[in-house]
Amino acid sequence: MKRILVLALAGTLLCASLAYAGNIGLGAFGGMSVPVLQADQSQGGVYGLRAPVSLTPLFTVEPFYSASTLGDKTENIGGVDYTREGSDVTTFGANLLLSTTGPMRFYPYVGIGSVKFKRSGQDESMTSYNFGLGLGFTPAPKFSLDIRAELQAAAKDQVSRKMGNLTVGASYALFSFN
């Protein structure tokens, strides 16, 4: 995993050497998180923060933090309902966006990070992989809105817990650099 991160950083730094006025922004997002093939969790909400660093017109590196509260799951056993609380899921990581240019941008992205699942009887960390598609708009200078759909997989021991995340977000370009 470290090797992949180093390669990703090396690639983006190489891009930064090109003559381009990049920028660093700050954004927030929120939406829904739907467990995929998880019989012990149900749909919940997700929100978080992003810090997009646009290094070239094409590439953006985006450290992020997200927190999800997955919903409870109820099983009927012998006529009695038993409910398991959903996990609180927190993720730290970084995305790499491959973006088109213009006032409306369409971009695929991949990300990697560390994710923690916590509820009674469960407190464990896993490696998070995510990939998805985003659609971005720039309604005003330095300000952008986006809609994203992604699949997040929290992997450990060759299996994973997967969530489909659908979010809307807004970000503002705080600083520019050459």
């Binding site: 190489l14 012990d40 099983e75 009674s120 009887g121 469960q122 992997a155 299996v159 997967k162």
Partner: protein, 176 residues
């Protein structure tokens, strides 16, 4: 730039590949009903042979189980006595018949939970998940042949306890 784009695409693919077969795995819930039971000081011993292969969800994924995510024993525990009492569950790995007495080599699996005098405690999924103390033994049985023994025990000096609506809930991850 084309070379760079290809390199980054390869990095992305490598990241996904590094996760192995993560996209083809899932979490499944298997439940096993346990019979109502009563046990008291000097009274009947309550043992049960659990055969998980009688559960469809377990049988469907038995050969693909990679991890056991969550374990719970749920149900109602009633203390019929006039003093508070504690209840525990012990596991007998590799049992082929229901335990009829305390078994050497048995491992404490769950509890204790304290039940006030003349009261009933409903043990829910969340509380129960944090009361497992012999997780690894049960995980080994689940990933093994799925057949093992369970029995109720009470560390209290005197006790008169009944259980009802009891079940074992197992959440496991399986991959294809």
């Amino acid at each position: 730039m084309k070379t760079l784009s290809k390199s980054l695409a390869l990095v992305a693919l490598a990241a996904l590949a590094a996760a192995g077969c993560i996209l083809t795995s899932g979490q499944f819930v298997a439940t096993y009903d346990l019979p109502d039971a009563t046990f008291s000081t000097g009274g009947t011993f309550q043992g049960e042979l659990v055969d998980l292969t009688t559960i469809g969800e377990y049988n469907d994924h038995k050969d693909d189980i990679a991890r056991v995510e969550d374990l719970s024993l749920v149900g109602d525990i009633r203390n019929n006595g006039n003093a508070s009492a504690q209840a525990e569950v012990w596991i007998v790995p590799g049992a082929t018949s229901a335990p009829t007495g305390v078994v050497p080599g048995a491992v404490k699996l769950w509890g204790p939970i304290t039940v006030p005098a003349n009261s009933t405690v409903n043990v829910d999924w969340n509380e129960s998940a944090s009361l497992f103390v012999g997780r690894q033994t049960l995980i080994d049985e689940i990933k093994g042949d799925g057949v093992f023994g369970l029995y109720l025990a009470a560390p209290s000096v005197t006790y008169d306890i009944s259980t009802s609506n009891a079940a074992l809930i197992i959440v496991f991850s399986a991959k294809k």
